[in-house]
């Protein structure tokens, strides 16, 4: 065992600051190492010198001087209002101030975040483009009843900033889907803007990209 590694442990050992396992290790080492034994004796000696300092204390005139200054200053201070004391005891009693403040901040952050997300969602809903229901002919009730689940809701019109480039392969797929899920629409309902059908199942969204002919 290296002595330099044990120096700091010996410095703790001489005042009983070590746990039992480390104490035994140091004691075993001290029995076999004379240099460390001398170090322990020197440390004990310097520590005993410092214990003498416990006897030295300040004199009474200095104490009374401090007291006088403090009481003069306190006389000029406004006492803390009673309601502050009550509020403080109500909210922070039995807690460390730091923890109490951290708890209040955390609660404020969580509730603020929840409020913001609700407010943000509500804003998104109001900003959504209104459905052009007038130009859309609702299928007859009989047709709706015959439709497979999931049911199709009113279409939402997605207005692109620029005209969409429709890939060639897409119309075939769309028309295949359309034949299964969508009710047949008349030529008058066809427009140049893509339409989005939202179903009850969030995984299924139907996009309708009509061509000039309304396919």
């Amino acid at each position: 065992m290296k002595c330099t590694a044990l120096e700091s442990l010996i410095a703790l050992y001489i005042e009983g600051d070590l746990p039992v396992s480390s104490r035994r290790r140091v004691e075993a080492h001290l029995q076999s190492c004379s240099a460390c034994k001398t170090l322990a004796e020197d440390l004990r000696e310097s520590q005993s010198l410092f214990k003498v300092l416990r006897a030295a204390t300040v004199n009474s005139s200095d104490l009374s001087g401090v007291r006088e200054r403090v009481l003069n200053e306190v006389g000029d201070l406004e006492p803390v209002p009673g309601w502050v004391i009550t509020v403080h005891r109500l909210f922070f009693a039995g807690m460390r101030r730091r923890n109490a403040i951290a708890g209040v901040l955390l609660a404020a952050l969580v509730s603020g975040g929840a409020w913001y997300s609700q407010w943000h969602l509500a804003g998104e809903r109001t900003n959504e483009a209104p459905v052009d229901v007038a130009s859309f002919e609702v299928p007859a009730p009989a047709d709706v009843a015959n439709m497979d689940q999931p049911s199709v809701k009113a279409p939402q019109i997605v207005k692109p900033a620029e005209p969409l480039e429709i890939p060639e392969a897409l119309p075939a797929e769309v028309s295949a889907e359309q034949s299964v899920d969508e009710p047949a629409l008349t030529q008058s309902q066809v427009s140049q803007i893509p339409m989005k059908f939202v179903t009850d199942d969030p995984d299924i969204i139907i996009y309708w990209l009509p061509t000039d002919k309304g396919d």
Binding site: A56, V70, L77
Partner: protein, 214 residues
């Protein structure tokens, strides 16, 4: 011969009970004083100051070195105590709270002093008015003690601030490692590391002052 019953156990128990009841009465009296002082009762606050002024001023003196700085620190400690007493939880012990505040004030004052570039005045030279609890009648012994005291404080002044604070609290004030850690707002492991390093440095300093034996 008739044997008398052993009353030593009963005596010890009654002594313990009377001591604990005295401590309880003292604690409840202090709680009462603290509550009154928090509401602005100056007379109650004066009682608190009288009870704790020696501990606060002595600790400040040991931490800062000069009695003038220690007096400023003690004044600031009691003013902060008055100002923030409403934040103190009266169910907890008061002295650790006060000691922690003293350590913080002394730390602030020490930093301010360093920023000002002020020279640290050594304890022995700056303050000759220290009272000794066991004053020796022998002037030779008294002189020897004074020289020793100055040497030890010089060794203390050489320590880094954190190590010195931990050492003063643990080894001069006689607090436990746990109490020291609470007063410093750090862990017990950190305090152990600081006091270990401080003890080794002080031992080297003392050895140097004694002419070096090794």
């Amino acid at each position: 011969m008739e044997s008398r019953p052993d009353t030593s156990l009963i005596d010890a128990r009654s002594l313990w009970m009377s001591q604990s009841s005295q401590e309880g009465a003292r604690a409840s009296e202090l709680t009462n004083l603290l509550t009154r002082a928090a509401s602005g009762d100056a007379a109650a606050f004066e009682q608190i100051v009288i009870r704790h002024e020696r501990r606060v001023l002595t600790l400040s003196w040991r931490l800062l070195g000069a009695i003038e700085d220690a007096q400023d620190a003690a004044q600031e400690v009691f003013l902060r105590t008055f100002k923030y007493l409403h934040r103190f939880d009266a169910q907890k012990p008061f002295e650790p709270w006060l000691i922690r505040m003293t350590v913080n004030v002394c730390r602030d004052l020490g930093k301010a002093r360093q920023q000002r570039g002020a020279v640290i005045v050594e304890h022995g030279e700056s303050y000759d008015g220290a009272e000794l609890r066991d004053p020796g009648n022998d002037p030779h012994e008294e002189l020897q003690f004074e020289q020793q005291r100055q040497m030890l404080y010089r060794a203390l002044d050489e320590l880094p601030e954190k190590e010195r604070t931990a050492f003063v609290l643990r080894d001069i004030e006689g607090m436990t490692t746990e109490e020291t850690a609470e007063a410093l707002g750090s862990s017990e492991a950190t305090v152990r590391s600081q006091i270990s390093s401080a003890r080794l440095k002080i031992r080297k300093h003392v050895e140097r002052m004694n002419g070096g034996r090794r």
